[in-house]
């Protein structure tokens, strides 16, 4: 009796703050459950699959085999030892290298171009609203559609790019953009930069508009030249916004799939981590092996983001400066 009486007493004796926290928990619960179902569960399931020998024809029939999909030693009948698994698979490391190369080059180009576009759009001129909307078109087109469109533009025989370059005298013979291993990566980079620069421009523009105008006026009165203004005032002030924009793009670039799948699906020169894991998951009879590669992709992304946030001191809480 006394126990329950105390309990009730405690129940009603909750402070306002505690009551608020409890209410907040109830309101958050549906979202957390939804997040668990759509994010955590698939992730955990993939990690589980990567530790088994599951095949796509029988998803529930896998046996637990520890880390054999990642790394295992095999002793052949003649006594020689062989190493197998994703971690010693040259195709996987080639894909990792391709992905990293692609991400770094594309994000650097997009950031620089995006910033330039944003600076232009930040200036006052007639029809600015229209230009701001128009520049978003490449970003608004679904990737599959724009990739197909570019595939035709890059076509060696009827492509408009070859035609224009030939007529301008830039090239002497038609280039097989997507077929040639040397140009395949450039073709993919070109399309990605075309597509994603507007996104970067938009995020940079948002950052630029946060910069108080009076600082510029002060600089103008002091007669500082515009280049110095950019590096000493603009850049430091938009740095937090820029860092967040870069991390979004980097995450996107590291898991690039659709563009490459449409433009150069089977070329070893452009195969990325996502492309190779899909190939193993679905096309080859190696579902668990592909799961192991997906898990590694997740791990690489997680490590990268943690490092970036830690080294760049990025503030993701949105309370910068407080």
């Amino acid at each position: 009796m006394t126990v329950s009486k105390t309990a009730i007493g405690r129940e009603s004796g909750l402070s306002l703050r505690q009551q608020r926290i409890r209410a907040a928990q109830w309101f958050l619960a549906p979202m957390l459950i939804a997040l668990f179902c759509v994010a955590a569960y698939p992730l955990l399931k993939t990690i589980w699959f990567s530790l088994t020998d599951t095949s796509l024809n029988n998803l529930s029939g896998g046996k637990f085999i520890w880390f054999d999909n990642y790394f295992r030693m095999q002793t052949l009948s003649n006594g020689a030892v062989r190493y197998k698994g994703t971690l010693v698979d040259p195709a996987w490391w080639n894909a990792v290298w391709n992905t990293v190369r692609f991400s770094v080059v594309s994000v650097v180009c997009e950031t620089v171009l995006g910033l330039i576009v944003a600076l232009v759009l930040n200036a006052e001129f007639k029809g600015r609203g229209f230009v701001r909307a128009a520049i978003l078109i490449p970003w608004a087109i679904p990737t599959i559609v724009s990739a197909k469109m570019w595939a035709w533009m890059l076509n060696d025989q009827y492509g408009i790019l070859n035609d224009m370059a030939l007529n301008l005298g830039l090239i002497s013979s038609k280039i097989a953009w997507t077929a040639n291993a040397d140009t395949a990566m450039y073709a993919v980079l070109m399309v990605d930069i075309w597509k994603t620069t507007p996104f970067m421009a938009l995020l940079c523009l948002a950052g630029l508009q946060m910069v108080p105008r009076d600082i510029y006026e002060a600089a103008k009165i002091d007669g500082i030249n515009p280049v110095k203004v950019f590096f000493k005032i603009t850049l430091p002030l938009i740095r937090p916004a820029l860092m967040v924009a870069v991390i979004f793009r980097m995450l996107d670039a590291l898991r690039i799939f659709d563009l490459i799948y449409v433009l150069t699906p089977n070329s070893a020169a452009t195969k990325t981590m996502s492309v190779i894991s899909r190939e193993n998951l679905i096309e080859f009879d190696k579902f668990a092996y592909g799961s192991a590669q997906s898990t590694l992709l997740f791990a690489i992304l997680a490590i990268f983001v943690s490092l970036y946030i830690w080294l760049g001191k990025v503030d993701l809480s949105g309370e910068g400066g407080k």
Binding site: I175, A179, P265, A268, E283, D285
Partner: protein
């Protein structure tokens, strides 16, 4: 929302009224067929399926997929693994049977009459452990398309060996370019890194006497001097008689160059015959077909066995209607329409003696012997690992054609990879 409901309601009411008027005893079912889009297959499909729709009162909807067989396979495998009920019938490639067998209905009972009428080897290719996985709807064996007007113009015989082809293509290409066609090419084929390159390269290797990658008994035979010679020959075409872009061409891209009159020779499947003679074709009436060339005297021409089949999903909710449709699509009536409209080779023996087909698609009776001697891809001995074998083969070939490593090195590497993949047994 209310409008949508109302119109849908009205539509179904109208449908019921029509049905009642016609007096169909059962409610019509809607059957979904998924198929890749190559040539005019999808445009012709409604006409082919119309008689069945009229007879049964059911409706057939086609779900289009990309032309590349590798792309189709990935999607189908995913749907089937998930037990998707949305698709009732799948159009399947000849090489898929062992990999997808367990997801399809056994058609040996329903297709009894067809089995007897078909070529036994084709039925055999679709039978896995006694289960008939799919019914063949057409078979395929590629041809060498050549411009007879240009061969006459330059006084060249139809080439029999690959060397003769190379020489002929070079001569015509030089002549046509000098005459002002800057985009003219000697020979176009399928060089993209996908299943189609496996077909093309298997033909080169086999016609040089270099075996068929993995032999019927499971031995890996690809690393041999003849296969190396074959790949070296093909690598010599890229950038000379074939555009460098051929390394990204599938069937339709090659046909694009050919059908606009920009190539002297093309390797392609028979479907390009009807399309090449269409009214919008620049080469209408100007070309002929022959068997693919061979390496040297003493070797034989080789054509990769292709072909498509129709399979009924185990997860279909309209199985009875779906099986009936499959039997119709694989039956003589549909095959004849396909032969005439799309020059697809029938799998029913009697159709090769059909006078109407012989008149409208003369390539078909001519092609009977070609496909009867066609080389199968090693999907039977390699079982579930076929896709990986094929992918490793086309990658090695694509590397060689792109100039990354010599044919000898790439094939030695391929042999090691395949041995690794094989392990103790396929």
């Amino acid at each position: 929302m209310s409008f949508g409901f109302k119109s849908r309601f009205m539509r179904s009411a109208a449908a019921i009224a029509v049905l009642a008027a016609v007096g169909t005893p059962v409610l019509a079912e809607e059957i979904f067929v998924v198929s890749g889009a190559t040539g005019s297959d999808l445009q012709d499909f409604p006409a082919i399926v119309k008689p069945w729709e009229d007879k049964t009162g059911n409706k057939v909807t086609i779900v289009p997929m990309p032309s590349s067989t590798s792309d189709q396979f990935g999607q189908y495998r995913l749907w089937l693994a998930a037990g998707a009920t949305d698709i009732d019938l799948y159009q399947t490639d000849v090489i898929w049977a062992p990999q997808l067998a367990e997801h399809f209905v056994d058609l040996s009972e329903a297709g009894k009459d067809l089995i007897a009428a078909n070529f036994p080897s084709i039925i055999q290719s679709q039978t896995v452990n006694g289960k008939l996985v799919a019914l063949p709807i057409f078979t395929d064996a590629p041809a060498l398309y050549y411009r007879k007007d240009l061969l006459e113009k330059y006084g060249i015989e139809v080439p029999k060996t690959w060397d003769e082809l190379t020489a002929a293509a070079t001569k015509i290409q030089e002549g046509e370019r000098a005459a002002g066609s800057a985009d003219f090419w000697g020979y176009v084929w399928q060089g993209n890194a996908y299943e189609g390159l496996t077909c093309d390269a298997l033909e080169w290797v086999k016609s040089f006497g270099g075996g068929q990658i993995v032999e019927a008994d499971g031995t890996i035979s690809i690393n041999n001097p003849k296969a190396i010679k074959a790949l070296e020959t093909a690598a010599g075409w890229v950038g000379t008689i074939s555009p460098e872009g051929v390394l990204a061409y599938g069937e339709e891209e090659a046909r694009g160059v050919w059908q606009t009159g920009n190539a002297a020779f093309m390797r392609n499947w028979p479907y390009a015959y009807a399309l090449g003679n269409g009214d919008d074709s620049a080469v209408k009436g100007k070309f002929e077909v022959t068997t693919l060339p061979y390496g040297a005297e003493g070797d034989a021409s080789a054509a990769t066995l292709g072909g498509w089949n129709i399979a009924v999903s185990k997860y279909s909710e309209h199985q009875e209607a779906a099986v009936s449709l499959a039997v119709y699509l694989a039956g003589p009536e549909a095959q004849k329409m396909r032969a005439i409209m799309e020059t697809h080779l029938p799998t029913i023996q009697a159709l090769y003696d059909d006078p109407e087909i012989a008149e409208k698609s003369p390539i078909i009776p001519q092609w009977k012997n070609v496909f009867l001697n066609a080389v199968p891809r090693p999907s039977a001995p390699t079982l579930g690992k076929y896709n990986e074998v094929s992918s490793k083969f086309w990658s090695a070939v694509h590397e060689t054609l792109s100039g990354n490593g010599s044919a000898a090195d790439n094939l030695a590497g391929l042999e090691a990879d395949l041995t690794d993949l094989k392990g103790d047994a396929w």
